[in-house]
């Protein structure tokens, strides 16, 4: 179902920031992953219960580029400014992959502003026994198959020779490289996750080939009182692939 997103543009600490908004209710903010393939229509069930805010990270979509944003903490600070601009004090936060890493970092510092936290196949932890796939090593043609168990869930495949698509992908990878060319995790995050003091749900696709589901054990052990829901068959793009995962998140946040 296509979501009737309203696109708003704000200037946040000097940086153009695009926010997609839909639905009414309590605020639920979604922080997207390192790529934008697949789109955001999966969020339709959320818009029935919440006012969904979907900001495009700096370096993605209609948001501007800031070469100075080189750490996850830069994004945490950016989102504190955005929350001020939107006059949002307390909210529900869902973060996917890279956005999950941002959300986890945010929660270690600002749990009091969160009602519920959902981390979907988050990046950020370094788990030696179950390492994440280094997406910088993936060839363009390897990326989509690594993301999803059911490729059709990501929509029609983009034309690999389409210059607009090539440039957009390059821009997204550039943003990602600024944050994590050397490592797409924070070796210190595990020391700080005990500070997440908000009801937290982890959501994972059982066939995730980017962040293996086995990583979930470390996360749930580090975030006290957290729970895990897994879905199958689903890969890293579990939200696109499994509508029941999206509904489960809505239920967790509502409860």
């Amino acid at each position: 179902m296509a979501v009737p997103w309203q696109s708003i543009e704000l200037t946040v600490n000097g940086l153009k920031t695009q926010v997609l908004r839909a639905g009414t209710g309590e605020p639920l903010m979604f922080w997207h992953g390192g790529g934008t393939v697949g789109g955001w229509d999966f969020a339709a069930p959320w818009t029935e219960r919440f006012q969904v805010y979907l900001p495009l990270h700096p370096g993605y979509g209609g948001s501007g580029d800031d070469p100075g944003m080189t750490t996850i903490q830069d994004y945490v600070m950016h989102y504190l400014d955005l929350l001020d601009a939107l006059s949002i004090e307390r909210f529900n936060l869902v973060g996917l992959s890279l956005g999950g890493w941002m959300a986890a970092s945010f929660a270690t510092q600002h749990s009091s502003r969160l009602k519920k936290l959902v981390l979907v196949a988050p990046a950020g932890l370094w788990i030696k026994e179950h390492p994440s796939t280094d997406i910088f090593r993936l060839k363009p043609e390897e990326l989509a198959p690594a993301l999803a168990e059911n490729l059709a869930a990501l929509g029609p495949p983009p034309d690999p020779h389409d210059v607009d698509f090539i440039v957009q992908s390059y821009r997204e990878m550039t943003t990602l490289a600024r944050i994590g060319w050397q490592r797409l995790y924070d070796p210190k995050l595990s020391k700080h996750l005990h500070r997440v003091r908000v009801p937290t749900l982890f959501v994972w696709g059982k066939q995730d080939r980017i962040a293996p589901v086995a990583q979930a054990d470390s996360w749930t052990a580090l975030v006290r009182g957290s729970t895990l829901r897994t879905f199958s068959p689903a890969g890293h793009a579990v939200l696109n692939e499994r509508p029941e995962a999206v509904r489960a998140i809505a239920e967790f946040v509502t409860a």
């Binding site: 070469p67 910088f136 060839k139 020779h161 210059v163 440039v167 390059y170 060319w181």
Partner: protein, 415 residues
Amino acid sequence: MAAPKEGVVAKWQDDLQFYTMHFMPYVYLPPDHKRFDSLWVDFSNKYFDPEKGHALYERYIKEMVLADQLGYDGLVVNEHHNTVYSMMPVCTLMAAALIPLTRRAKICCFGVPVNLEMPNRLAEAYGMLDVMSGGRLEIALPLGTGMEYWANSLVNPATARARFRESLEVLLQAWTQEGPSQFDGEFFNYRYLNPWPRPLQKPHPKIAIVGSGSPETVQVAAERGFGYASVFVPIAVQEKTFRKLREEMPKYGHEFTPDKALFNVMAYVAETEKLAEEEFREHVRYWVEDTTRTTPRYLNPPGYISPEQLRIRAAATASHGGFDWQVLTSQWRIVYGTADKVANILGQWCESANSSRPVIHHHLGDMPHWKVVKNMTLFAEEVIPRLRGRQPSATAQPLTAEPAGGQARAAAGAH
């Protein structure tokens, strides 16, 4: 040799110097190598046979020594990583090896990709080479190809250009301020910037920026008043690059001189044009199709260029064919034929680029030793005198009293 003072040399003929450049490639590719879409970055080093590599080093060094004996003004080495394209991942080592084997030619490191070194260590290495060679060092500073950032992935390509600029600041501070000095930057902090040894040339060896003509690298050269060493790109791109350099440099209080436009040429001289083509063409093909073969992903790691630049490159790649001899020899600086023809064309190129520094590849790809010796010798004996004959006032003097042609004959006789 006293370098011409900035501002004195206005015409390319007044200061014409001939540099010869060697990539020192590894040429023993497996029979099925065409199935690899890149011979860079991830092409397995299991295909490198050190015994064959040893023989190649001995041969390539001999070719550079011959160039010195033939009277070439500069011996150019450069650096690449994880590739058959070059066996010089540490080009300062090759420069050091050449110093005691050569007498007059400048040793040109064109050079270490600045971002792959700590800038104080670069100042040290180049300081050593300049002092060891008695002031024969000349350097050119490359950002490094995209492939170098995959091979040396500790350096972030997304910050490569900012880091390059800062490294340059460190390097120049190290060479222009008495040590110890302090440096506080975004990427580097030095409490005691004080590299020993200091270069012999004052204030430092001649510096150029290496590049393919991207606006950012031309800008750095213009701001600093450095030379610009254009890598092998189409003639139109080189000319546009040098035009930009000539326009921009005065804006920063620097004067453009023809020695600041260094351009790469592939040249082959033989008795007849037909023979030259026969002997040369297959090695150009090998260079184009094999040693430079890599993927767009490796050419442009994330952040290495802006999305706008990528759009230009992506559009260009779509229209780019493979090896096309007609296109290569008309739109690129590839010249072959008799000495007359090569001298004529090279003279025209120096004229149109207002450059007194052609950097000539006498060896290319899998060219055998005998062809390199023949080409290099004929070029030195027959092409250089024809071009030197054009200069209205001879200001460029070799260190020895012997004219270049005489040296060439003596050396050719010895081989």
